[in-house]
Amino acid sequence: MHELSMAQAIVDTIMEAAEKNNAEEILEVTIEIGMLTMLNSEQLKFLLDVLTEGTLMEDAKIIIEDVPVEINCRKCQYTGLANTDGSDHYLAIVLCPKCGGRDVETLTGKECSVKNIKIEKSDDDA
């Protein structure tokens, strides 16, 4: 359960950006989580709520966007979404949906990224 340390790193990143921009309140944050990371979005959301109690981010709306898995097949040069329809949860990751090859490079799906934040600030700072 490393959602706690990731949540803390996310909060630190957001607070740093908010302070740099003289935020008085953080209204909304958008976080991208790759579908290949071992992170559970619901746990992450819960921990972000707990960690931000009493801070600028206390009432912020938290948006978590799942980043789908894109691969590049070294065998047939297919580039695009991995097939995630399979019932076998890993085959989609290691198999190219076009040629069935396993020699694939993962392009996206491993992100844990603070994309942007929406803040309220005093107009005087503009």
């Binding site: 490393h2 340390s5 890993y90 994309k115 005087d124």
Partner: protein, 219 residues
């Protein structure tokens, strides 16, 4: 006083921050020509025992970073083999990350060793996300965890260079099919070498030494 709402682009990826630190760790290791092996695996699969056996059997100077929730137990075992050991307490954390390892590297006499084993916290899930900067990742599992353990934790096998399936002498006692485990790994990662071992009887152990040797030469 007027207030206004502003959108701030942040675009900060925490995973990338870890990977950057991992690359820095590898540069530190390369500077002193130290080959590093990240040892991950299930709780009680025999990670510590395997590293202890490798310390005794390999003709290299070895150091160990012992990562655990409370590291003193494993660290104490390694110290008995007269090798440099740095214990890393992760506390509540379920995995090592590149930042923790960087601290441990400062305390390790790198110029005195050839191989550094980094024993991760017993866990097949969380370490997947965290590159430490090592040159090779070895996964250690055992038949006593059940022969479905590979299917249940595919990602760690996809990102590994060597897989050790330990305690095969106990397979029939616990009703586990070790060949199934090998096949499951091959399904996920056809390239990876899988070795069945019993540290109790010594079977397969020489192959592990050869595999690490080969990676050291080729890396």
């Amino acid at each position: 006083m007027m207030h206004k709402i502003a959108d701030v682009e942040v675009q900060h990826d925490i995973m990338i921050a870890n990977r950057k630190l991992a690359r820095k760790n590898q540069r530190i290791l390369d500077k002193d020509k130290v080959f590093s092996v990240d040892v991950v695996g299930a709780i009680g699969s025999g990670k510590t025992s395997l590293i202890e056996a490798l310390i005794d059997a390999m003709n290299y100077k070895i150091g160990v970073i012992a990562g655990d929730v409370i590291s003193k137990y494993d660290a104490g075992r390694f110290e008995k083999h007269n090798v440099p050991v740095v214990g890393l307490n992760t506390g509540k954390e379920c995995h090592l990350d590149a930042h923790l390892v960087e601290h441990a590297l400062h305390d390790m006499p790198l110029e005195e060793i050839d191989i550094l084993f980094i024993e991760n916290v017993g866990n097949l899930i969380c370490p997947v996300d965290f590159d430490l900067g090592s040159h090779m990742r070895m996964v250690v599992i055992s038949v006593t965890e059940g022969d479905d353990t590979v299917e249940k934790h595919p990602l760690i096998f996809q990102d590994s260079d060597l897989v050790v399936i330990n305690k095969v002498d106990l397979a029939s006692a616990v009703g586990a099919d070790s060949d199934k485990m090998v096949n499951d790994v091959k399904q996920i990662n056809p390239e990876v070498q899988v070795i069945k071992t019993s540290l109790k009887t010594g079977s397969g152990f020489d192959e592990v030494i050869k595999a690490i040797d080969r990676y050291m030469r080729d890396h």
